[in-house]
């Protein structure tokens, strides 16, 4: 029997070359996460107080190897595993985004978790696992690693969404999120398996080549549509968005911020890689699909957001609309682009600005809820009178979300318009006009919150100012500075994500 096996011609196992420097951020994050878990198990309550701070540090430490990698930009891109894992300027910029978003989310969570009598340190361990998934996702150029990264992001998030376990809404949030997430994963995996069937290889570049010479067009379309629908769920694009508002409302608010920003960004990163690299030759199938998803997401998201009375639900629907804006460049990705104005760059610019302004808005929501114990938009009345600083910050975040200069959001939208109009195609121009009209609809409900803060009296005439705990103040400061700087000197973002070679890889 054994001899029979021996006769099968097996290739000898060759250990792939690992570029330790390039994977140092991931390894550091993994190591520190594991270390924190161990410390928590050994010291129990004695260390519990420090876990949020330590987790925050664990997110900042991997920035060091990222900086050293960046400084040696001549060596970039560093390619591993035959192109399945790539470290380039694009992925480094995204890793910075994810780590910093994670840091801000930890800052947002620490008071919330400490005051709420929840499982404390486990929460942070799950967040670090999720962030690790995102950091891996930035570099993944392979169906399997993309899928694994996506699950590593999602599964901890399912647990965390149900973290307020004595609250029915939170249970609903977790359950809905998990069922929809698993369903989406299943569909996506089916699409991916079809793709693998065509290509005989999981690397995106190989998939692209295989699709280019594929004969069976209907099946290719099916594979693409399934994969895209899977991602549609992950980035909460209409019509696959129904889980998002309930999950956002029920989940602990810091986690909602995490889902709305970091988790969604990760979905987009995967989508960019798959569409721009894997489907680079299938524009005629993907573009119309993305056009419809984008137009539907922004229009439906905005129209429903107008009717919301709860600010978290409003931000959830606004996030659906923002996902629509971000999908828009993918509706024209098959055209030729010159210079730094290309779909990938526009989306990543949007992601960076969106992370800053949306996390900032959630920071204010958490702060206000600490005082008013309410998530209703009407509870924001009089904020400008009793906490003018906080009110002004929220105003800037809202105007940024609405895309009004001089705060960051205008630049994000500008880049979207820039990509859509570049080749003066009908798809692009029509979508640009839809985006323009939608910005006006969106301004209405963002201004509705501003209206409450500035024009309305405080609902219970309680004018005690809102106390700013240090972690939340730090989070607010980081996001506010980022939002303003992105708006006034957007060139900084443009330079960071100058990665035109992505599509060619």
């Amino acid at each position: 029997m054994l001899t029979l096996f021996a006769q099968i011609d097996q290739p000898a196992f060759v250990r792939p070359d690992i570029d330790w420097h390039a994977v140092a951020p991931e390894l550091l994050l993994l190591g520190l996460g594991a270390l924190l878990t161990m410390l928590d198990l050994i010291f129990l309550d004695r260390i519990r107080r420090f876990i949020p701070t330590l987790t925050g540090l664990a997110f900042l430490v991997p920035l060091i190897p990222i900086l050293t990698l960046w400084s040696q930009s001549d060596d970039l891109p560093r390619v591993m595993f035959d192109g399945a894992y790539v470290v380039d300027r694009y992925s480094l910029a995204l890793k910075v985004l994810f780590l910093l978003s994670g840091y801000v989310v930890v800052l947002l969570s620490s008071d919330y978790m400490a005051e709420g009598d929840y499982y404390d340190s486990e929460y942070y361990q799950l967040i670090s696992a999720s962030i690790l998934g995102m950091v891996v996702m930035s570099s993944a150029r392979d169906l399997v690693s993309i899928f694994i990264a996506l699950e590593l992001i999602s599964i901890p998030a399912y647990l965390m969404a149900a973290w307020r376990k004595r609250d029915l809404k939170s249970n609903e949030a977790g359950l809905k999120f998990m069922l929809m997430g698993v369903f989406a994963s299943g569909i996506m995996l089916y699409g991916m398996s079809l793709l693998y069937g065509f290509a005989g290889d999981t690397r995106l570049s190989a998939v692209a080549e295989a699709l280019d010479r594929g004969e069976s067009a209907p099946l290719i379309t099916l594979a693409i549509v399934f994969t895209a629908i899977g991602f549609g769920f992950k980035v909460s694009a209409v019509p696959f968005h129904s889980w998002a508002p309930d999950t956002y409302e029920g989940a602990p608010t810091p986690l909602t911020a995490f889902l709305a920003v970091a988790s969604k960004s990760a979905g987009f990163v995967a989508l960019i890689a798959i569409v721009l690299v894997g489907f680079s030759t299938q524009a005629d199938v993907v573009e119309p699909l993305m056009w419809v998803l984008a137009a539907l997401s922004m229009t439906v998201g905005n129209l429903i957001a107008i009717r919301q009375t709860n600010i978290v639900r409003m931000l959830a629907y606004s996030g659906i609309a923002q996902a629509g804006y971000m999908l828009a460049p993918l509706a024209v990705y098959g055209e030729t682009f010159e210079g730094t104005t290309n779909p990938a760059n526009a989306i990543v610019n949007y992601l960076l600005v969106y992370a800053a302004m949306n996390l900032g808005a959630f920071a204010v929501v958490i702060l206000v809820a600490r005082k008013t114990r309410s998530g209703e938009i009407s509870s924001y009345g009089g904020l400008m009178n009793y906490s003018p600083g906080l009110g002004a910050a929220m105003t800037l975040f809202l105007f940024s979300l609405a895309g009004v200069p001089p705060v960051g959001g205008w630049w994000a939208k500008f880049q979207i318009f820039n990509v859509l109009t570049q080749n003066a195609s009908w798809a692009g121009i029509s979508l640009a006009i839809i985006v323009a009209v939608n910005s006006v609809i969106a301004a209405f409900y963002y201004l509705n919150v501003a209206k409450q803060m500035w024009f309305m009296p405080a609902p219970d005439l309680d004018h005690t100012p809102i106390r700013l705990p240090a972690p939340l103040a730090t989070a607010l400061a980081i996001t506010l500075v980022a939002t303003i700087v992105f708006g006034i000197l957007p060139g900084i973002v443009g330079d960071l994500s100058d990665f035109t070679s992505l599509a060619a890889r």
């Binding site: 210079g339 730094t340 104005t341 400008m384 003018p388 105003t395 105007f399 609405a402 895309g403 009004v404 200069p405 001089p406 205008w410 630049w411 500008f414 880049q415 318009f417 820039n418 109009t421 570049q422 080749n423 003066a424 121009i429 640009a432 006009i433 323009a436 009209v437 910005s439 006006v440 301004a443 209405f444 201004l447 501003a450 209206k451 500035w454 024009f455 000197l489 957007p490 060139g491 443009g494 330079d495 100058d498």
Partner: protein, 513 residues
């Protein structure tokens, strides 16, 4: 000194108000006097820098962009920080520099309900930066940013300090303008990509368009996007509906700034951007712009006759007056556009002044309902005379500034630019001329009902009604003097604008066969 002004003058002027606002942020809001002092000081300092710039301005060479600063801003999209002043922008900058300090002075004892001088004056200063920035920007992206910056403070100014319907008025103002400017941005980008240009520079783009053969239909569409952006801001009929609400509900200071300066951002956009860059499309659009302009003139005048509220009447008169400005622009002739710029300045001075008076009337009578007013000349004779003076100026009495905005615009329509239908514009001319009769009608009627006769019983013995006070004199005198001065010596403005206008229309002259 000259060198310093050349390099930093404009930047200093634009951002000084913002610096004032930042300083005010750190002063506690209870210290109202300091806030007023800081606000006044920063606007006066801004005006001083402006005066230095005007002093250094080479009037013999008014067509050239002066104090030109052009540095890289967002290099990834080739947007530059390009600011400069020429003969077209100079009068409008001067107007802005004049009106804002006056508004701050007026605020000294007229902070509208519900108070909070700090926030009110900070917003005024931010507004100041936005307006000045729009007039100096020579790059489309920079222009767009400044154009939008103005929205935020005005929204809050109307919404917090406005009248009873303020929430509705504020959101309407915001959404209308945002809609226009979003489409304007799309058309800016479409223009950029269609020309294959490597710059958003206004002069650069107009050269690119002239050098390339862009399909006329594309140009017309792009012009349409800009038309929406600027036309809503002007506002032109049928996009004017935000204006009466915003004007009526805004606090006095807000109305003054809106009338005197914000409306000019739209007309300025036509003169600075839309027409020089897309002259061929402008010729195609001119009849339609002219049509909407004359509809605005007649419609605004008729609407005025139906108003029962003094402020709302003045607001509708703005629709009519901006109609003359747009008619002047639609002729596409240097004569017409010069008249339009003069009309912009004159309307800024006169209507700004009218809103000031309306605000002071409201403060004394607590109402602006025309039929409850009367006998202003008896109770507050100086104010009554000022109102009379302004209505005369507004209806275009020769010898006052209003005349030189209105009459040349009508005259210009007699002979529009080549390629634009002459017959059509002569019809417009007749209609616009009829509009002046209406204007005389509603303004004299307003004066008659509010200033003449005896005070109504309700207010006959009201001790609150007093004549013009010191802050009002300080704020109003410069405007009144200038209305008279420009009326007698219109060449002050025409002399500056003419070379720049001729220069801006060069593309048109070359394009015409």
């Amino acid at each position: 000194m000259t060198e310093f002004l050349n390099d930093w003058g404009i930047t200093l002027m634009v951002f000084l108000p913002l610096a004032g606002a930042v300083i005010m942020m750190f002063v506690p809001s209870s210290d109202e006097e300091s806030h007023k002092a800081i606000a006044l000081f920063s606007t006066l300092l801004t005006a001083a820098v402006g005066i230095l710039l005007i002093g250094e301005f080479d009037f013999d060479n008014a067509s050239a962009l002066q104090f030109d600063v052009n540095t890289s801003w967002i290099s990834v999209v080739n947007a530059n920080y390009h600011v400069a002043i020429d003969g077209i922008s100079l009068p409008l900058i001067a107007l802005t520099l004049l009106v804002t300090p006056l508004v701050v002075i007026y605020s000294w004892n007229h902070i509208p309900e519900p108070g909070n001088a700090k926030m009110f004056l900070m917003l005024t200063l931010v507004l100041h930066t936005g307006m000045l920035g729009t007039f100096v920007a020579q790059d489309l992206v920079l222009f767009f940013v400044f154009f939008e910056v103005v929205l935020l403070p005005m929204y809050f100014m109307i919404g917090v300090w406005g009248g009873e319907q303020r929430l509705y008025a504020a959101i309407k103002f915001f959404l209308f303008t945002l809609f226009g400017s979003a489409l304007m941005l799309v058309s800016f980008l479409a223009l950029y990509w269609n020309t294959g240009s490597s710059t958003f520079d206004i002069v650069g783009l107009s050269q690119e368009v002239a050098a390339r053969d862009i399909a006329l239909s594309t140009q017309v569409l792009i012009f349409g996007g800009m038309f929406l952006g600027f036309g809503i801001k002007v506002p032109m009929f049928p996009f004017h509906t935000w204006l009466p609400d915003a004007h009526t509900q805004a606090p006095t200071q807000g109305s003054v700034i809106l009338a005197a300066i914000l409306l000019k951002l739209g007309t300025y956009g036509f003169i600075r951007i839309a027409i020089p860059i897309l002259p061929d499309a402008a010729v195609e659009w001119a009849p339609w712009i002219g049509l909407l302009a004359v509809i605005g003139i007649i419609y605004g005048a008729l609407a005025c006759l139906a108003q029962t509220d003094m402020k709302r009447l003045i607001a509708f008169s703005s629709v009519a007056h901006m109609g003359y400005v747009m008619l002047g622009i639609a002729t596409l002739t240097p004569f017409g556009i010069n008249a339009a710029i003069f009309g912009m300045v004159a309307h800024g001075l006169i209507t700004g002044m009218l809103f000031f008076v309306a605000g002071s009337v409201k403060e004394r009578y607590h109402t602006l309902e025309i039929k409850r007013l009367g006998g202003l000349l008896v109770q507050a004779p100086r104010m009554g005379w000022i109102l009379g003076f302004c209505t005369m100026a507004s209806l275009g009495l020769p010898g006052l500034a209003g005349f030189w905005g209105e009459f040349p615009a009508i005259l210009a329509a007699y002979n529009p630019a080549e390629g634009v239908s002459q017959t059509l514009f002569r019809v417009y001319m007749v209609i616009a001329a009829i509009g002046t009769v209406f204007a005389a009608g509603y303004l004299l009627w307003l004066l008659q009902r509010t200033a003449f006769g005896n005070p109504t019983e309700e207010f006959a013995d009201d001790p609150h009604i007093h004549d013009v006070v010191a802050t009002e004199w300080i704020a109003w005198t410069p405007l009144l003097v200038l209305i008279l001065l420009f009326g007698f010596v219109p060449s002050i403005i025409f002399g500056v604008t003419d070379p720049a206008v001729v220069n801006g229309l060069q593309a048109l002259a070359q394009a015409a066969p």
